[in-house]
């Protein structure tokens, strides 16, 4: 039986780490919208990414499904904004996604920040979408959220999130209308409400 002690230790350690990984359901209270009462944005839409996670393409797919005029340019710069009337930014840091570009994390932060600042300056609404939920809760993604939320017009995210308490506090602080959904597909309704 002595030979199984390391196995037992390994399982115990895994269980111990599990308690930290489990999502804490308690979160800060925030008033959310099931969808916006009036449209806040117009087409043409620039769909871009903050963090280069591949799931940014999901919003392009949803936009196409809703027949919204949009361009999917995950690496768009602030200078590209002149031809669009709204910005949809999908947040989520992907190491592999970023390695496809010639930028590093710092430059990606700078690009995203500059883009939303330029949009704010030109009164172009910014819709921030986070569909990674519990799966991307690294410091880089959280940093991106922190830097973009102050310039955001509308936030759509998932209910299930480890940082949800901090996130809700941040959204509340910046008076960002928020919609939280259970499933990615449920984004279609609030997203549509922002335009129609």
């Amino acid at each position: 039986m002595k030979q199984f002690i390391p196995t037992f230790i390994g399982i115990c350690l895994a269980c111990f780490l599990l308690t930290f990984e489990m999502v804490n359901p308690s979160s800060g209270k925030i008033n959310t919208y099931p969808n916006l009462p009036v449209p806040i944005a117009m087409e043409d839409i620039l769909i871009t990414s903050a963090g280069q996670a591949v799931e940014s393409a999901v919003l392009k797919s949803i936009a196409d499904n809703l027949n919204l005029e949009s361009d999917y340019r995950p690496r768009a710069l602030a200078t590209d904004l002149y031809e669009y009337k709204s910005v949809v930014m999908i947040v989520g840091y992907s190491k592999n996604g970023l390695s496809q570009t010639l930028r590093n994390v710092k430059e990606e932060f700078h690009r995203a920040k500059e883009l939303v600042q330029e949009a704010e300056k030109n009164s172009i609404p910014v819709i921030l979408v986070d569909i990674s939920g519990v799966l991307r809760e690294d410091e880089t993604t959280w940093g991106l959220l922190e830097s973009i939320i102050p310039h955001t017009t509308y936030y759509i995210g998932l209910k299930n999130s480890k940082h949800s308490r901090d996130l809700r506090m941040l959204l509340k602080e910046h008076h960002v209308p928020t919609t939280l959904v259970n499933e990615i597909k449920e984004i279609e309704v609030p997203f549509n409400s922002a335009y129609r």
Binding site: I9, G10, A14, L17, K60, N96, G97, V134, L135, R136
Partner: protein, 462 residues
């Protein structure tokens, strides 16, 4: 395990670990392929592409972790040379955790330690059942591969994400894409299925290996027992045979004694009648009977020795040798003024004959030569028997003296008999051989000084 093997093990292990750590950089194009196809899969709403990406993901990370886990075991095995005990297992686990910490730090892929710990726990559990035999690494690598396949699929199971499993970048992207396209139905089914399948295969394989190992051990024990029994039987038969031969040879002495007595009686009678020619014949007959009596005594009593000139001994040996139409030349070189040696003539001759017969056999029917050189070196006589036959393999040089060892399906008692005879004469025997070139047997016998006790048990023969 030898020191050299340990160094090789550490070196190969370190190389594998390095390869595992650097592999994501080497095969970066695979990540590009996966990311591009995932994007295409979302935009085209084609979940089929996700299946291909999942398989590619599993292949890539199984390979990376295989190098790390297998390299780790080689390093620990080489460094500490202790396989299977508690400290060894803990060291292995710590090494793997350290390597994967470095991997996570370098590549920032965010592999969760829960998955790593569970993989380690399964591997350490399985290791306890892998027999520590010569095929350990092969068996371990097969099991490791299957376990890693299972664990890589486990990383892709979406419903395990809430437990912190499958948090690395590509697995996360895959799960999100799958969530959008199929509501995680595809990966929950596919990944869970493969995870369970490979896990069951690894468990069954481990169970079968353990069963097989127990069988092999039991069979080895039975074989050992059988061999011991066989050896005991042979020893018993040999001892009985030896006893029989001894008593038969001893029985020969009785009629010889009668013949000796009667010839003496006839000689006495003839002396009285003055017949001389028949008396001569009788004297020669008596001398032959005496010689035969001595020979029988030497066969019966191995300590019975007598001084004999080396020339006479070698003539006696070579005259009894059967060369059977082989083109073999026997060259005998004796140093001048060699003193006589004190040996049991029959046994020592048989020993030299055995060596010469072996030399002849080593020619394998081809022509060759055997040199028998005898020299005096200090207080010893050295017999050198050199043949240019096939030689003896270096690995067999020690085993040839063992009773029963033979490469020619013979009884295998020839050389052990030679050794025992030489040692019984307070001598030593050495062998040197170059396979395919020659074999040299050296018998070194001490020279008995004059006055030294040379006849041992001589009285017993009379």
């Amino acid at each position: 395990m030898k020191k050299n093997d340990n160094h090789i093990s550490i070196m190969i292990g370190s190389l594998l670990v390095m390869l595992g750590i650097l592999l994501p950089t080497i095969v970066e194009s695979s990540s590009t392929y996966m990311i591009e196809n995932m994007e295409a899969s979302i935009l085209l709403r084609d979940s089929g592409k996700l299946v291909i990406i999942s398989i590619l993901y599993v292949a890539k990370y199984t390979m990376i972790f295989f190098f790390i886990f297998f390299g780790g075991i080689l390093v620990i095995h080489g460094k500490f040379n202790r396989n299977g005990n508690l400290i060894w297992q803990l060291l292995y686990a710590l090494t793997i955790l350290l390597i994967l910490f470095i991997y996570n730090y370098l590549h920032k892929e965010g592999f969760s330690y829960i998955g790593i710990l569970l993989t380690l726990a399964i591997l350490l559990f399985i290791q306890g059942f892998i027999p520590r035999r010569k095929n350990f690494y092969l068996i371990y690598s097969v099991l490791l591969f299957i376990v890693l396949l299972a664990m890589s699929w486990m990383q892709l199971i979406p419903w395990l994400s809430k437990f912190g499993i499958g948090t690395n970048d590509i697995a996360t992207s895959l799960k999100i894409a799958d969530h959008y396209l199929t509501g995680n139905y595809l990966l929950n089914t596919l990944a869970s299925l493969f995870f369970i399948l490979f896990l069951i295969i690894s468990v069954i394989l481990t169970f079968l290996l353990n069963l097989l190992n127990k069988r092999i051990i039991a069979m080895e024990k039975i074989q050992e027992g059988e061999q011991e029994l066989k050896a005991a039987r042979i020893a018993l038969v040999e001892s009985k045979l030896h006893e029989e031969i001894n008593s038969l040879v001893h029985d020969l002495k009785t009629p010889l004694t009668t013949m000796e007595g009667l010839s003496s009686l006839i000689k006495m009678r003839l002396e009285k009648s003055g017949e001389t020619s028949i008396k001569n014949y009788l004297e020669r007959m008596g001398s032959s009977i005496q010689k035969m009596n001595d020979m029988i005594s030497e066969i019966l009593y191995e300590h019975n020795k007598q001084p004999i000139s080396i020339k006479e001994l070698l003539e006696y040996v070579t005259s009894h040798l059967i060369l059977a139409e082989q083109n073999i030349e026997i060259v005998v070189n004796l140093e001048g003024n060699l003193p006589p040696i004190c040996v049991n003539k029959i046994r020592f001759s048989r020993a030299i004959s055995n060596l010469l017969e072996n030399a002849i056999s080593s020619m394998a029917g081809k022509a060759g030569s055997i040199h028998v050189n005898v020299n005096r070196v200090d207080k010893h006589i050295v017999f050198r028997i050199i043949d240019n036959g096939q030689g003896i393999k270096t690995s067999h040089l020690h085993a040839i003296w063992d009773e029963g060892f033979s490469t020619r399906n013979s009884s295998g008692i020839g050389l052990s008999f030679v050794k025992s005879v030489v040692e019984n004469h307070h001598g030593t025997i050495q062998v040197s051989s170059v396979p395919g070139s020659h074999t040299q047997m050296n018998i070194i016998l001490p020279i008995h000084e004059e006055g030294e006790k040379a006849y041992e048990y001589n009285n017993l023969s009379r």
